[in-house]
């Protein structure tokens, strides 16, 4: 059990880590992004978009305002005596939005006799309430929901929210295996929930294919799924897709970088190790392109480009970087890049991993993705980067 103080401290710790990742200071191309956040519906802390969180979140009927229960998704209070809505289903005869006696509706939402007209003038509000029903035993122990005789503590589930590109197909990986495929809407948003999850440390990965068929890199988030609670992972920004056409240009020729991002985002592309970005704005359909003049680049050499974008809603947030895309400037023959799709089925998954292991520590060529003459951890690292599940 995590105490509230401890929880706060850990949250502060995480935020401090997040703040320490100042965009731009690293200058490298593998900087973590800070857009993702986690809220746990069930930790008794109201955070993120939660409306309430009482720790159990059963959402069952309560016979007082003080004893009301939050709903399982932490989005509203469950029905209760005092919510202003007469819940005949739960035996309410009235509900005047309070739990006070003497106002014709008693503290547990049963009709009270008018002390003046029906009580003969001798009774008082408080004594008039004496005939009311018990607020305890008849309805069971507050906060406990039972299915038969087994206490039900709530489902262990995960809600995931993020943005990709309008109409993109988003593949969701769970610990490296494909969990499901969802589609982003016209605003590039996707959202889904998974029920009956096993609690514990879990890595969710996401990659998307845009309308032009370009694939993004896999974006992953590792976190703890809390037992009997709803864990919400929100703020995912999938890195943009990126393609360079043509793949080979003569010296001084123009190469077009194009891809998809969230609508109206400011996209920045970086060629080689340059810190100066080529900038453009994505259309309302999320499409973007940059015509790049290759004159400053070294001829007869392979060059790389990658891109990211600024969140149009909050420009302080940046997406992760796209895949490193190569293009060749010159008239020679470029060296083909190493693919981790070892069996050529269009996917990089456990099968390719097994092939890699099969040839582990050998000299290749099968499995030697970076062609350094040995099948080893650098090849494994490249495979994990290209992972599709």
């Amino acid at each position: 059990m995590v105490s509230r103080a401890n929880t706060r401290c850990r949250v502060v710790f995480a935020v401090c880590i997040a703040l320490s990742i100042t965009p731009g200071t690293v200058g490298a191309v593998y900087v973590a992004t800070t857009s993702v956040s986690l809220t746990v519906c069930g930790d008794a802390i109201v955070s993120g978009n939660e409306f309430c969180d009482d720790g159990t979140n059963t959402g069952v009927y309560a016979d007082s305002i003080a004893g009301k229960h939050c709903t399982p998704l932490c989005s509203a209070w469950g029905p209760h005596c005092g919510d202003g809505v007469m819940q005949t289903l739960y035996g309410e005869e009235c509900d005047d939005s309070n739990n006070t006696a003497g106002d014709l509706c008693d503290p547990v939402c049963q009709n009270e006799q008018d002390p003046v007209t029906e009580g003969g003038g001798g009774g008082s509000g408080s004594t008039g309430g004496g005939g009311g029903r018990s607020s305890g035993g008849a309805r069971g122990i507050q906060g406990a929901v039972t299915e038969g005789s087994v206490p039900f503590l709530g489902e262990t589930s995960v809600i995931i929210k993020g943005r990709a590109y309008p109409g993109a197909t988003v593949t969701v990986l769970r610990d490296g295996e494909v969990e499901r495929v969802v589609e982003a809407d016209g605003a590039a948003q996707f959202e889904f929930s998974l029920t009956d999850q096993t609690p514990g440390i879990t890595t969710f990965g996401f990659w998307a294919v845009d309308r032009a068929g370009r694939r993004s890199v896999t974006y992953a988030a590792t976190f703890q799924i809390i037992q009997n609670a709803v864990t919400t992972l929100a703020g995912i920004l999938l890195p943009p897709t990126l393609g360079a056409t043509p793949e080979q240009v003569p010296p001084g020729g123009s190469v077009t970088f194009a891809g998809s991002a969230v609508p109206s985002a400011t996209v920045r592309a970086y060629v080689d190790a340059s810190e100066a970005a080529e900038e453009t704005q994505a259309s309302k359909l999320g499409e973007w392109s940059i015509a790049y003049d290759s004159s400053p680049l070294t001829a007869e050499a392979q060059h790389t480009v990658r891109a990211h974008y600024l969140d149009p809603v909050n420009t302080a947030l940046k997406s992760g970087y796209s895949a490193l895309t190569t293009f060749y400037v010159g008239t020679g023959t470029p060296t083909p890049g190493g693919s981790a799709d070892l069996n050529g089925d269009g996917l990089v998954n456990l099968t390719d991993f097994s092939i890699l292991l099969f040839h582990w520590n050998s000299t290749g060529p099968m499995g030697d993705i970076n062609t350094d003459g040995t099948v080893s951890l650098p090849d494994f690292s490249i495979m994990l980067y290209q992972w599709t599940g």
């Binding site: 995590v2 103080a5 929880t7 401290c9 949250v11 502060v12 710790f13 995480a14 935020v15 401090c16 880590i17 320490s20 690293v26 593998y30 900087v31 973590a32 800070t34 993702v36 956040s37 986690l38 809220t39 746990v40 930790d43 990986l173 490296g176 295996e177 096993t198 609690p199 514990g200 440390i201 879990t202 890595t203 990659w207 890199v217 896999t218 992953a220 988030a221 590792t222 976190f223 703890q224 809390i226 992972l233 992760g320 895949a323 490193l324 069996n343 456990l350 099968t351 991993f353 097994s354 292991l357 099969f358 993705i369 951890l377 650098p378 090849d379 690292s381 994990l384 980067y385 599940g389």
Partner: protein
């Protein structure tokens, strides 16, 4: 550097009120000092062993988490080597239930150095899609690579003074960046000092208690058949992988069972029994006639069994015993039918002859 780190950890231990506070203060100070002392590695990933506080009885068993803080760098593969002195410390197991690593190139191992004087723990695996650090708001410790299950060595018995045992991070430890280049990330490391005293009181075993609480089976998983010749191998093999998020996977077992027990030309019964194995697993039955079962077992013995039936080929169908029995039955039926028709025709002819013969005699 080691002295600074020890002092840092002492500072952290001094304010040890809650796990979160200790982690926060300890890491903040470590991070600040690392930044000051080695400015060129200010953004390096930081790999460290998280020390359980206090002094331990020499027979106590407890876990020491190995954690990583990428500090802004996204990583995806690790090769961690941890060395210790087996004369004062025993690493008896490695827990991966709470690990952020779902894929291991080799199962975490505990080895002895060439001379036997050094104990070595090797962790080698990766995270598909990479790991960029803890998610803001995460209540769990989603930064653990593995947990070393340690106890004091038996030779500490009888010592009156506390003995300090160290686990150090070997220089061969490498962490790889998740940028598609296969390049190593900058890394700072921090080992741990553990204090043991000889005690006659009953040993505490927090690790065993945690394992016993695991009642959940390993995660459901897929078994995939890899056709060997297409990937440079002469044999067919299967691949599989799963995780157990409580006590961790202990081992896998594989059973190849031929329900018909006999092949077309193999009249020797196939024996079916579980064998321990790892993925990739080369199939014993290279003709792919057997049904394959893979069992994942966690540290507390909870099991998850997945069944896989290789796809049927025409040749296999034609040579399946069941198919042959069916074919034989059809032949018998067909033969019986033909025989019946022949007999019926003969009987009809015989009757006609009798009728013809009777008519002639009357005339």
């Amino acid at each position: 550097m080691g002295a600074i780190h020890r002092r840092v950890m002492n500072i952290a231990r001094g304010v040890r009120y809650t796990g979160g506070m200790r982690a926060w203060l300890g890491l903040s100070v470590i991070g600040a000092l690392s930044a000051c002392v080695i400015p060129t590695q200010a953004w390096a990933a930081h790999l460290y062993l998280d020390p359980p506080g206090g002094v331990h009885g020499h027979t106590d068993t407890f876990s020491v988490p190995v954690r990583i803080d990428p500090q802004g760098t996204c990583i995806n593969a690790v090769s961690v080597r941890l060395a210790y002195d087996p004369a004062v410390l025993s690493v008896i197991d490695i827990g991966v239930g709470s690990s952020i690593i779902p894929l291991w190139t080799t199962r975490p191992t505990i080895e002895r150095g060439p001379s036997g004087e050094t104990g070595l723990v090797v962790l080698e695996g990766g995270i598909p899609g990479g790991y960029c650090g803890r998610v803001s708001g995460d209540l769990g410790a989603a930064d653990t690579l593995a947990e070393l299950v340690v106890t004091g060595a038996s030779r500490l018995e009888g010592n009156t003074e506390a003995i300090r045992a160290s686990i150090v991070v070997d220089p061969g430890t490498v962490v790889y960046r998740n940028d598609g280049t296969g390049a190593a990330a900058d890394l700072t490391v921090l080992g741990v000092d553990l204090d043991f005293v000889a005690t006659s009181s009953s040993p505490a075993n927090t690790w065993l208690e945690a394992v016993k609480n695991d009642t959940i089976a390993p995660e459901l998983f897929d078994v995939t058949l890899v056709r060997g010749p297409s990937v440079g191998s002469a044999k067919h093999y299967i691949v599989f992988s799963t995780t157990d998020k409580q006590s961790g996977i202990d081992h896998y077992e594989i059973l190849e069972t031929d329900p018909d027990r006999f092949g077309f030309l193999t009249w020797v019964p196939r024996e079916s029994h579980w064998v321990r194995g790892e993925s990739p697993y080369v199939l014993r039955d290279q003709e792919l006639r057997s049904k394959i079962l893979v069992k994942a077992v966690d540290k507390n013995g909870n099991e998850r069994i997945v069944e896989y039936t290789p796809p049927l080929s025409l040749l296999k169908v034609l040579t399946y015993p069941a198919f042959l029995v069916l074919l034989l039955a059809l032949l018998v039926l067909l033969g019986g039918g033909v025989l019946g028709v022949v007999m019926w025709v003969r009987r009809v002819r015989a009757k006609r002859r009798q009728v013809t013969a009777g008519g002639s005699s009357e005339v």
